[in-house]
């Protein structure tokens, strides 16, 4: 890297070279000034709302009195809260797991397609991820309609009883996870495909000479080589899935009887629809430590192992 500050000093005298560069000549100052617009935007759009919601979470419903952790105490005593915690975890873990598995499977599949036809498949498989989820979820909503939908109509044709996709708590949970997987798997697929392409072909050849079968090549070569990409994708997707709002909101709006609520939709329901903004803020803040811990562990592992490949 060119040192902007010392680069100009080469022509100066020795005495000048020894003097500390001025505040506005230092590399760090220049870098800070360059990054300042972005820092300001982040502060305005991320930091301010985050701090403000922390502040809100400490107020009472009418936002007039400081109640400390009172909102959290209240939440912890409510059954629905623990159900939302449970549902958020089930939703995020199951959805991410299936997205990762399907993504890996499809990526292998696409990787095996000769290069000529691959672009077409890659493009088509990315479609679910490119459509705005609020829109595509609406299409799913119609597909799940109990009386007039494609699914139940097909089931009726082969003599299976209609399924109450969004009416029954378990089916509704299944449905929101299904749509989330459908929406998110292409992202995993494209990330894993890129990772697969970066594994040198000769490693597989060496492994096959070493006596590894298909499964052992996957387990001992492919997965370790993809490890960092897998971890980062899973971390990223867990955060996004955990905080999912649109799919649950459009598909079930949390119903039936709050059974499919995740943190974001329940916070919305309490805060915006129910008019108790401090309580809603407390719910959404509850995600922070859970995700933070996960992120720290995964990123630490990547840092530790990241330099070996």
């Amino acid at each position: 890297m060119v040192d902007a500050a010392t680069g100009t000093m080469g022509v100066g005298t020795r005495a000048a070279a020894r003097r500390r560069p001025g505040l506005f000549q230092r590399k760090s100052t220049i870098a800070f000034l360059m990054a300042l617009p972005l820092i300001l935007i982040i502060a305005l759009l991320v930091l301010y709302p985050a701090l403000y919601s922390m502040h809100l979470a400490t107020l009472n419903k009418s936002m007039e009195r400081f109640v400390g952790l009172g909102n959290f105490e209240f939440l912890f005593k409510r059954e629905t809260f623990w159900m939302v915690v449970q549902q958020s975890c089930i939703f995020a873990i199951t959805a991410v797991l299936f997205k990762a598995l399907i993504g890996l499977f499809v990526a292998h599949f696409v990787h095996a397609i000769p290069n000529k036809g691959q672009r077409k498949w890659r493009g088509m498989l990315l479609v679910p991820w490119v459509i705005p989820p609020a829109m595509s979820t609406l299409a799913w909503f119609w597909l799940f309609d109990p009386s007039y939908s494609a699914f139940n109509w097909l089931f009726a044709l082969v003599g299976i009883d209609p399924v109450p996709w969004l009416g029954d708590a378990y089916w509704a949970r299944f449905s929101v996870i299904l749509v989330n997987v459908w929406y998110g798997a292409p992202f995993f697929m494209i990330m894993y495909l890129a990772a697969l392409k970066s594994v040198p072909e000769q490693l597989y050849e060496a492994a096959s000479i070493d006596g590894a079968n298909w499964w052992q090549r996957l387990w001992y070569v492919t997965l370790p080589m993809m490890r960092n990409i897998i971890l980062i994708t899973v971390l990223f997707s867990t955060i996004v899935t955990f905080a999912n709002f649109d799919i649950v909101r459009v598909l079930t709006a949390g119903g039936p009887i709050d059974q499919t609520h995740v943190f974001a939709t329940w916070a919305f329901k309490l805060g915006i629809e129910g008019g108790d903004i401090p309580l809603g803020a407390s719910v959404s803040l509850f995600m922070l430590p859970i995700l933070g811990l996960g992120a720290i562990f995964i990123l630490r592992d990547i840092n530790k192992r990241g330099n070996e490949a």
Partner: protein, 364 residues
């Protein structure tokens, strides 16, 4: 016993023939080097022996068993790749023992074999490291170690030294030879470097255009090439080929090359007689064109040239000049004081000459 036999082996990619039907017998414990320019089919041949490429036609047998449809893991071979192909997430020990662990060899046995191979290759202190922490030469050793611990029937080397710098390459070349002397195993080694081929091989297989040009011991190929390609490929700087016209004068044959005329050895008169009056190629290695020496052996023939370029190499000096329109190299003693533009008297040792029929590119 692990001889490797190739019978009419063909490799076809879509419409192009990479290997056009080659026959080769490699004896047990023999070190055979496949050498040739890029695209000659040598790597493809090696990969077919390894089972990494399917063969389009013909048979490959290892240890007497035809292995055409046997997957690589069941051929009992070990391969060293050009870029080493070490598993980056495994330590040296894990890399070397991977094949044995897959085969479920007992732990003690794995430990013994890895330590033994590490001792042979002098990498014992590297066993706990990961490939990224190794230098190019060390990675090369680990790749060889991974092959040795398997104790395979056949070692396959695919241009293993190409990624090393020149000095290390020479050093590792010696290492490979030493290892082969310790671990006597049938070895097939692919390279495009004829020096590697000459120094390592028991027998060299020169390939060109998907066919075998010539098979033989290094010195046989050097001194008795059968084709123009082999004559030109083996040896550095390569053999001089000078267009000439054979003439007969009072029973003796003369090669006329522009202003230079050289009488050919009497012993070859009968062999070369059918070519009298024809345009042929006269081949002579640079070391057989030297300054005139009082102790010269053979049948030195004197001629003089105007030197264009002088290249002092330290142990010898190369002279470049033109005869009959082509550039010709000669090797002289480093003490020869000659400058470009000067006329230099030289002597050609015609006992080592070759005559090539340009119609067939075969050595007469």
């Amino acid at each position: 016993m692990a001889q490797v036999t190739l019978r009419k082996v063909v490799k076809k990619y879509d419409d192009t023939l990479a290997v056009r039907g080659i026959d080769l017998d490699i004896a047990d414990k023999e070190f055979v080097v496949l050498v040739g320019p890029s695209g000659c089919g040598k790597s493809t041949t090696l990969r077919m022996i390894a089972g990494l490429e399917e063969i389009s036609d013909g048979d490959i047998a290892i240890g007497g068993t035809i292995v055409n449809d046997v997957p690589p893991k069941d051929r009992d071979i070990a391969m060293v790749f050009q870029n080493y192909a070490l598993y980056p997430h495994m330590t040296v020990h894990e890399n070397m023992s991977f094949g044995l662990r897959l085969k479920k060899v007992a732990k003690d046995e794995i430990k013994r074999r890895v330590e033994n191979a590490a001792r042979i290759l002098d990498i014992t202190e590297l066993l706990a490291r990961k490939p990224k922490q190794l230098s190019g030469g060390q990675r090369q050793r680990v790749a060889m170690g991974r092959a040795i611990v398997r104790d395979p029937k056949v070692f396959l080397f695919d241009e293993p030294l190409s990624n090393l710098d020149a000095k290390l390459r020479v050093q590792m070349r010696t290492e490979i030879k030493k290892v082969h002397q310790k671990v006597r195993t049938t070895t097939v080694y692919v390279t495009h470097d004829q020096v590697e081929a000459m120094t390592l091989a028991d027998r060299v297989v020169v390939m060109n255009g998907g066919l075998i040009e010539q098979v033989g011991a290094p010195n046989d190929l050097y001194h008795a090439p059968t084709t123009k390609f082999v004559a030109g490929f083996i040896g550095s700087p390569s053999m001089n080929f000078i267009p000439c016209r054979l003439e007969e004068a009072s029973g003796a044959l003369i090669a006329r090359m522009g202003e230079v005329s050289l009488p050919l050895p009497e012993a070859r008169t009968a062999r070369y007689k059918p070519y009298v009056g024809k345009e042929v190629l006269f081949g002579l290695r640079p070391e057989h064109m030297t300054e005139r020496r009082p102790y010269a052996t053979g049948q030195p023939q004197d001629f003089s040239v105007t030197v264009d370029v002088v290249e002092p190499m330290g142990m010898e000096t190369l002279l470049y000049f033109r005869i009959n329109g082509v550039e010709v190299a000669a090797r002289v003693e480093p003490t020869s004081a000659v400058a470009s533009g000067e006329v230099m008297p030289l002597a050609a040792d015609l006992a080592h000459m070759h005559l090539i029929d340009p119609a067939t590119d075969k050595v007469v």
